[in-house]
């Protein structure tokens, strides 16, 4: 399994026992986790909106994220990074709307399982398509030169300006989304259409158009995430696969259909994975502390894998463990109001 966060992404040095950790390191990790979390949120926000509208989880959501990165890379070759940031999400959004209009709407008549399978097939197809067009190698998509400097440094750990830029973009999008959904007329209609699509249709609104619009906007958000994540997490054909299932985990933990839940779960996952990677907690210490004695010789023991587990090792599967636990004990998710 490819890690969600590449090693180079973690700013702080590894192998620091948490007891000796000081505030500076915690702060650095908080920022790293925040960036990861907000990135996840940009994906999960669109996904959760789409789910609450159509009741279908869009398996191909992360594929649109990948398309965003690739389109932006292609555009940045000719027009520079900033035009990529502007145009690529629009293209992705239009593509997404087209998928809803000509694909999903057609499959909808067969029921939910085929819908889910359709988006799954789409995810496969997009990955193959990307490989077909751009090949299997990573693209040399880089951060813009304007942002290639150190914003500030904490206790010798430099925070690149690009991370700060990512944080600002994500927060701006979240506030914008919240504003549109809760303060504008369009947002009101969307919210109404979420709960009572038939009534809203009877009031004369074009609900299929709203659905298409929401799908388009959701995928465009994923596209934005792809544009800004591509340069740092790498633009390669597997990037959708790496992030795809984590995004599902996020919205299931947060509660399907809940925007706030998606935010909280994204940040939670971002921080959990970052912290467990940055601090090398060892199972050995925990077991010894609990009073177990280490079997000798360890390499011959059946429990050797348990004893040698370290937190960076399991960082990537922590979200899945969290999700399974949540689904067992609180099937609605953290903030969900209804059953999935």
């Amino acid at each position: 399994m490819k890690p969600l966060i590449p090693e180079t992404w973690i700013t702080s040095p590894q192998g620091v026992l948490w007891i000796t950790a000081d505030m500076d390191l915690i702060l650095v990790n908080l920022i790293d986790g925040l960036v990861t979390g907000l990135l996840l949120f940009m994906l999960s926000a669109g996904l959760t909106l789409i789910f609450s509208m159509m009741g279908v989880l869009n398996f191909a959501h992360a594929s649109f994220y990948m398309l965003g990165a690739y389109f932006a890379f292609q555009i940045s070759l000719y027009l520079g990074f900033w035009m990529g940031l502007l145009i690529a999400p629009l293209v992705v959004g239009v593509l997404g709307a087209g998928v809803e209009r000509y694909g999903l709407r057609r499959v909808h008549q067969y029921g939910h399982v085929p819908e889910l399978i359709f988006t799954f097939g789409l995810a496969l197809l997009i990955e193959e398509l990307v490989q077909f067009i751009w090949g299997k190698n990573q693209m040399p998509y880089a951060t813009p030169e304007v942002l290639q400097f150190t914003a500030f440094s904490i206790a010798g750990n430099s925070i690149p300006a690009y991370k700060i830029f990512m944080i600002f973009i994500s927060i701006a999008i979240f506030i914008g989304l919240l504003y549109v959904l809760t303060r504008t007329r369009v947002g009101m209609i969307i919210q109404a259409a979420l709960t009572y699509p038939k009534t809203v249709e009877a009031l004369g609104h074009n609900v299929p158009l709203i659905f298409m619009g929401v799908f388009g906007v959701g995928t465009a958000l994923a596209g934005v995430a792809g544009v800004i994540a591509g340069p740092v997490l790498g633009t390669f054909p597997g990037m959708a696969f790496v992030l795809g299932s984590i995004v599902f985990v996020t919205i299931v933990i947060g509660g399907l259909g809940s925007l706030w839940g998606a935010l909280v779960a994204s940040l939670l996952i971002g921080w959990i994975t970052t912290f467990s990677k940055a601090y090398n907690l060892r199972m050995e210490d925990l077991l010894t502390w609990l009073g177990f004695t280490k079997p000798e010789p360890i390499w011959d023991s059946a429990w050797r894998d348990l004893w040698s587990i370290t937190s960076p090792q399991i960082a990537d599967i922590l979200p899945y463990i969290l999700m399974v636990l949540i689904l067992i004990f609180r099937p609605y998710g953290l903030f969900g109001k209804r059953d999935a």
Binding site: F248, V252, I314
Partner: protein, 432 residues
């Protein structure tokens, strides 16, 4: 909004047919005879390898369809049960003293029990709900166990996996399974046994209730059946047969790695099952055969086989949700009316020209791929037994022309096909 994720019972193409409760014997006898004869028709070693792979995939796809087609549960992590069953079997192979006591043909039972055991644990919480929750838990558990394979090295063997030797088992009537053909008959026997058992399972009251719970869990509950337990039993049974498939994989290849249980593998089995058609018992069998052929034969021909497979899959979901089996069974009414002959010529015209169009389009795709990604200076490519220069204009014009003409004729003849279809499905003397 109802979020119940079930196949829609009002769509006949998707419904697992109830059929009669009597079990027809003839198809099984035919299948057994076919399995006996096949190695004499396809004698090449590679053919036997492909057939082994095919049989294993068939068992796995049938097990998967116990969930998807019969139970309405969409699993994104079913490879885990097959994989764990397989890993357990390799471990048994490596336990010298124990393995010397049991004949190899019994090994799949242990694999099945292992898959079943894991399914019991996971099913105890995942089958509480069908639908999205089930799909998500299956995905989560699948990712979890796949990721564990690099952490729990003692069982999964880390990145290089674990390997064993099947020949150390107790000789089975003198057979030590040194040769590929002996393994073929072992797998074929297990294929027949598992398929028959799974078919019989679908005829039991429990199998029937699985269908009822898929279509209308609420009503099943009112009839006094616990939807959850019905789902649980389907899940456990499916886990057993997945484990059997995994064990056969272990016997055939003698090595298991992380690739056998990751999400890609789970996705592929979903693909194979759905392509074949989830609505009929024989659907997954067809799907597994076609899928294995594509995977083994087409992948030798082109690097882009995944791309074509993706297109075929998406088209299937969009236009033929019944899959291959659904397409075949669509012709049953016309056959009953004895009017299947009416469709022959129109099919030949439309589908034949459509196929030519597809070949042309595939040539275009291949040429584009070659022109973009081949190493610099390499302008020659070979497709359909012809070699040419991709940087000259003529091949492109030919390919485009073939594609356009093929699809054009298909489009022109489509109305005639639709008319013939209508005629073939209308009884004589009925009002038009």
């Amino acid at each position: 909004m109802t979020d119940q994720l079930t196949t829609d019972p009002t769509k006949p193409a998707q419904r697992m047919r109830a059929g009669s409760l009597t079990v027809p014997l003839i198809p099984w006898v035919l299948a057994a005879a076919l399995l006996m004869v096949l190695p004499f028709i396809f004698t090449a070693n590679s053919a036997i390898t492909i057939m082994n792979q095919m049989a294993i995939t068939i068992i796995f796809a049938l097990a998967y369809n116990m969930l998807l087609g019969q139970g309405g549960m969409l699993s994104f992590g079913h490879a885990v049960y097959a994989g764990v069953g397989g890993f357990a079997c390799v471990h048994i192979m490596n336990m010298d003293d124990f393995f010397a006591q049991i004949p190899l043909p019994l090994l799949p039972v242990f694999g099945g029990l292992m898959g079943m055991g894991l399914a019991t644990i996971v099913g105890s919480f995942s089958t509480r709900k069908a639908g999205t929750v089930f799909a998500m838990i299956s995905l989560g558990v699948g990712e979890l166990i796949a990721a564990c394979s690099v952490i729990i090295v003692a069982f999964f063997g880390g990145e290089e996996g674990i390997s064993g030797d099947r020949t150390y088992g107790m000789p089975f009537f003198g057979v030590e399974f040194l040769q590929q053909i002996e393994v073929y008959y072992l797998i074929a026997a297990w294929l027949l046994i598992s398929a028959a058992l799974m078919y019989l399972y679908s005829r039991t009251p429990l199998g029937r209730m699985a269908n009822a719970v898929r279509d209308n869990p609420e009503r099943a509950e009112f009839l006094g059946y616990s939807a959850r337990w019905v789902r649980f039993f389907s899940f456990v049974a499916s886990g057993f047969f997945a484990g059997v498939a995994g064990a056969l994989f272990a016997i055939n290849y003698e090595i298991l790695t992380e690739e056998n249980l990751n999400t890609t593998q789970s996705g592929l089995i979903l693909l194979a099952t759905f392509l074949g058609g989830v609505g009929f018992f024989f659907g997954p069998i067809l799907g597994a055969i076609v899928f294995t052929l594509v995977q083994t034969v087409l992948s030798l021909q082109t690097e882009l086989w995944g791309f074509y497979l993706g297109i075929v899959f998406v088209v299937t979901v969009m236009f033929f949700p019944g899959g291959l089996a659904g397409l075949i069974m669509m012709h049953v009414p016309a056959m009953r009316l004895g009017k299947l002959g009416l469709l022959g010529m129109p099919y030949l015209k439309t589908l034949g020209s459509g196929a030519v169009g597809c070949l042309g389009a595939a040539a275009l795709i291949e040429m584009t791929f070659h022109a973009r990604h081949a190493s610099a200076g390499d302008h020659e490519m070979t497709i359909y037994w012809t070699t040419f220069d991709t940087h000259s204009v003529v091949p492109w014009i030919i390919a485009i022309a073939v594609t356009l003409i093929g699809f054009g004729i298909a489009r022109r003849t489509a109305p005639a096909l639709a008319e013939a279809w209508g005629q073939a499905n209308t009884p004589d003397g009925a009002m038009r």
